[in-house]
Subunit: 359 residues, 2 copies
Amino acid sequence: MSSSSAEIPARRRQRSRPSRATAIRITEVAAMAGVSTATVSRTLAAPDTVKAETRDRVLAAVRATGYTPNLAARSLRAQRSGLALVIVPNLITPFFADLLLGVDQALSEHGYGLLIGNLHDRPEKQERLIDLVFAGGADGIIILDGRILGRPGRSLADSGVPLVAVSVPTTTDAAQVLVREREGGAAVAEHLLGLGHRRFGYVTGPPHSHIEHERWAGFSGALARSGIGPEAVWRRVGNFHLETGIEAAHALLATPRGAWPTAIFAVSDMMAIGLITTLRPAGVLVPRDLSVVGFDGIAFADLTEPVLTTVRQPREEMGRAAAGFLMRLAAGETIPASERVLRLDCSLRIAASTAAPPI
Amino acid sequence: MSSSSAEIPARRRQRSRPSRATAIRITEVAAMAGVSTATVSRTLAAPDTVKAETRDRVLAAVRATGYTPNLAARSLRAQRSGLALVIVPNLITPFFADLLLGVDQALSEHGYGLLIGNLHDRPEKQERLIDLVFAGGADGIIILDGRILGRPGRSLADSGVPLVAVSVPTTTDAAQVLVREREGGAAVAEHLLGLGHRRFGYVTGPPHSHIEHERWAGFSGALARSGIGPEAVWRRVGNFHLETGIEAAHALLATPRGAWPTAIFAVSDMMAIGLITTLRPAGVLVPRDLSVVGFDGIAFADLTEPVLTTVRQPREEMGRAAAGFLMRLAAGETIPASERVLRLDCSLRIAASTAAPPI
DNA sequence: TTGAAAGCGCTAACAA
DNA sequence: TTGTTAGCGCTTTCAA
């Protein structure tokens, strides 16, 4: 479950076997109940196929011993682990924690466990997760906003395990949960244009990411329709994290005031917050001197001063939908290509960080 | 792993076996290399015990097939899962995400994987994690700030699996990582007293938690030494979460201004932030009208307006230390009782949310 | 309705 | 240095 990181343990040499003295085996339960192990197994798996009297004896023995079937044995026998692996770029971005909530809920409803593969923002960590999957450690994979890496022939996509991608389009036949990022970006532009802004700034996400591409396409497209070309936009490269929002603020402060935009769209709330909090001590007040818009709608966007105008993503729903896809795939269902991509709406939440431009 | 939730999968009835078509078994590698399965296993586990020539053939076959040993089989055989279970109250509190970073790092250095058991603030969810542990799903447990639940005879403590408790003292022989919360609470009181405050407020953590008890003991103790009794402190019950900080603010606003404290210590940053952001629209400015102190030192405490005075916990170090304990215990080492409790310091970080009381 | 037995994939003791 | 073999704990035919 999580790494958090679900990584395949390195092979270890001999070591003193840990206690585990308590482990009750099915044979002991069977002996206590005076039945075979098969009957114990059956009693637990399909109680109605066992005579009531026998069942009672077995269940009594189970209770008395505190027997819990061994997971490794079960997985080995069943050729399934009962676990879904969710790969997250990191856990410090609240966005992902929120998503996991939805995933977790949906998985537990289906009796599935959740293994969190935390990349700690190091995509190469995916390597160990690939090993995990090839080792049969998970029956399905949800990948949140990340590229599918790996050598040809040894990537998550060709592990033979069902795959659901969230916020990243894939060429494989993985199921996909996407958000209408483009519409979100356009809504931001329209909101700002409506307030009277004509000079814009933009803090990007990671350069080649899908969501960055879409948000920019929506934003710049809407600006273009109002006659503002992309070259007129003050741009800074970011990576969704706080630090790059702070960097963008410093870059802005180093720019002659006359060349400033009157509104900046930072494509994550974290960057927008970094921007606002760094500009404040420099005497730049939002929205008086500059309007700022974020993206994601994390809880902290409600707590900034001023409260952040942002685009809310349906995080929990995204998580639930992804898990839903996965459960269907893991159950052997084939989802027709036409239904394999789910697009969810996001919505502009207008708050106090945007206002008409300074005169 | 993490669920996030590492939960034991419910037993499922027969279902169509999922693809997993790709799974290579050791027998196929052995056949390709023209050796026995034992030799393949040995080549991977102890290459130097195998003749160079054989080793090359085996490794070539491993590469050619993309063979990865099956985890379930390995766990079953080795009687160990190679996983540590970390139980967190929730993942939306950044404090826990930070701690997990330290845990994860230390675990991976030891070749261990990490299973996150996310309780989603529902302690009763621990039940399924207990099942997981009794099923041999983890070789060790780290429990972050949570009670050890379960029926007698069936709790994490008597699973026979090594246990490390963080920020919660246990009566069992579990290893413990504790923070000098009491000193932290006292430092807050002294700081505020030094600024000239004499009328205090306090927003608690969950009533019976250890850390709440300690922080209050330190805070009230230091006040008492300055002649301020606990009954003179305006108190509100909280639970560390944002919402209860907001509630405390509303309660304060409903109190006659004359009865207000001039400084409030909220024993988590989230509550302090809730307090500040709720008071602001009501015209109560921090620290002009009221000083506020938090506890934890999460990243967002640097981003509030004003920047929050808080007590920093060494979160990553706490995580690393807990994992370090666990690795020693899982390796079969017996840690003498005298070394089994590690106490770490926390430190007051003074920022802009505290000032002299209004006149 | 129940039991005997095979076998999931792997590793380690033992034998050669 | 390598192979044979047993067995980790469980479930599921198949037979009784």
